[in-house]
């Protein structure tokens, strides 16, 4: 369903992605791991065109989203993104955060959008917090509202860019649980994370990226227990 073909991306003269290839099937969870600066976040950001790639193709549901004819707003509406820093809109309460996209982008009526928002807030376990402003919520709750905001767009795929890295340790679990539940519900997900427990438990495939290329990929069991490459072995020995 998602096919990333030979993607190149550089910032100025610094190459970040040097020919990335990756395939993710519908309803599956791909976890991308790798050292910092390896290009994993950049890869994610290319998939909803927050960054433009210089070479290669990214196919979602049979459409090359990097093509000139592709509608960037439509692409972004179909690809949900969850950020490390949540990036909730601080001047709006939870339900306003969640309904903004459906109303403006998906042209839903306000009532309809609010019903949808209540449903996704319930899915992330925050149905009682609809009127709370981000500043009144804990980090874990803010991130769950951010997940709800992305879900309300009814995306084909959800991208998680180190969604738990900015959270206090005791708040990580509640966000991971929401992500696990999403995976169980059959959401296609690409997850950049350092939570190897999550990868082991939820991922269908794990890709290890280093220095702008995917060095190794496979099932979590294969890649964590029997890494084929030395670089992957060295990386996992340090963090597992």
């Amino acid at each position: 369903m998602i096919e990333i073909k030979n993607v190149h991306k550089s910032f100025g003269h610094t190459p970040i992605l040097k020919g990335v290839n990756l395939k993710i099937k519908k309803g599956e969870v791909a976890v991308i791991v790798g050292p910092s600066g390896s290009g994993k976040s950049t890869l994610l950001r290319c998939i909803n065109r927050l960054e433009e790639i210089q070479k290669g193709q990214i196919w979602i549901d049979g459409e090359n989203i990097c093509d000139k004819s592709a509608n960037v707003y439509k692409v972004r509406a179909e690809v949900g993104m969850v950020f490390q820093q949540f990036n909730l809109f601080p001047h709006m309460n939870a339900i306003q955060n969640v309904t903004l996209g459906p109303i403006l982008t998906n042209k839903k009526k306000k009532r309809e959008a609010e019903e949808l928002a209540m449903e996704v807030l319930r899915r992330v376990g925050l149905s009682a917090k609809e009127n709370s402003y981000p500043s009144q919520l804990s980090g874990g709750q803010q991130q769950r509202v951010a997940i709800a905001r992305a879900l309300a767009m009814e995306p084909k795929v959800m991208l998680f860019d180190e969604a738990t890295s900015a959270l206090d340790p005791e708040l990580v679990g509640e966000v991971l649980n929401v992500m696990k539940q999403l995976a169980l519900d059959g959401m296609t997900m690409i997850v950049v994370t350092h939570e190897m427990g999550f990868a082991r438990e939820v991922a269908h495939q794990v890709a290890f990226i280093d220095n702008g290329i995917i060095v190794e990929e496979g099932s979590p069991k294969e890649i964590f227990e029997h890494p084929k490459t030395e670089r992957a072995a060295a990386f996992f020995s340090k963090i597992l």
Partner: protein, 224 residues
């Protein structure tokens, strides 16, 4: 005692005599200020969008234009618009020239105020808005500006008050606003103390009203 009474009586008589003419001038001061605030804010917003744009053909010319405006006195700009533009075939009345000069001059200042407010909002807010498919104008109006308003309003308020006072410069291009009205009365009656005290008092009342309005706006955009 008799002397004091006489003085008071004269003061009150003068006050009553001068007031209508000064109020007429005040009307022009308010008119100039009102339009210049609106137009300069629109100019400022538009200029700031150009300034923050990555496109060189937008940000370069506006940057140069703003530097020229900021580098020349408002009084010179007024002369330029009122006396020089007619030579180029553009003839504006005194009032219009005053409004235009104030609008352009303060537009340049307001551009910087808008710019500083907009760039103070974290890039993550743009990205989050983009990620739910919002277009540029939607991101600007629904996400960025409501947050930037909190940062923009205090310096903007100061700027509006200075603009109101600078509307007095229009007196030199024959606009009969408050200061000019005062000058005219003073030069015929020689009651300088009374006239210019009244003029000053009216400016204080106007600036206080404007400050109240800005305070109200600031409260509206306070963070929850």
């Amino acid at each position: 005692m008799f002397f004091l009474e006489k003085t008071m009586e004269k003061l009150i008589n003068n006050f009553i005599m001068f007031l209508p003419s000064l109020l007429k001038g005040t009307r022009f001061t308010i008119e100039i200020t009102f339009f210049a605030i609106i137009i300069s804010t629109l100019f400022g917003f538009f200029f700031s969008l150009c300034l923050i744009s990555k496109k060189r053909y937008l940000n370069k010319p506006v940057r140069i234009f703003i530097n020229i405006i900021r580098g020349t006195p408002l009084l010179v700009q007024m002369f330029y618009i009122y006396f020089v533009l007619p030579d180029l075939g553009i003839k504006l009345g005194a009032l219009e020239s005053g409004i235009l000069a104030l609008s352009i001059c303060y537009g340049a200042y307001h551009a910087e105020i808008f710019r500083s407010g907009i760039i103070a909002i974290s890039i993550g807010q743009w990205e989050a808005a983009n990620s739910i498919g919002l277009k540029y104008y939607q991101t600007m109006s629904r996400v960025i500006l409501p947050q930037a308003a909190r940062i923009i309003l205090p310096p903007m308020g100061t700027s509006f008050i200075i603009l109101l006072k600078d509307s007095s410069l229009a007196s030199v291009i024959t606009v009969r606003e408050l200061t000019r009205s005062g000058q005219l009365i003073a030069s015929t009656t020689f009651e300088n103390l009374t006239v210019f005290s009244m003029v000053a008092l009216i400016y204080i009342i106007l600036t206080q009203l404007l400050a109240l309005f800005i305070h109200y706006m600031e409260k509206r955009y306070r963070v929850k």
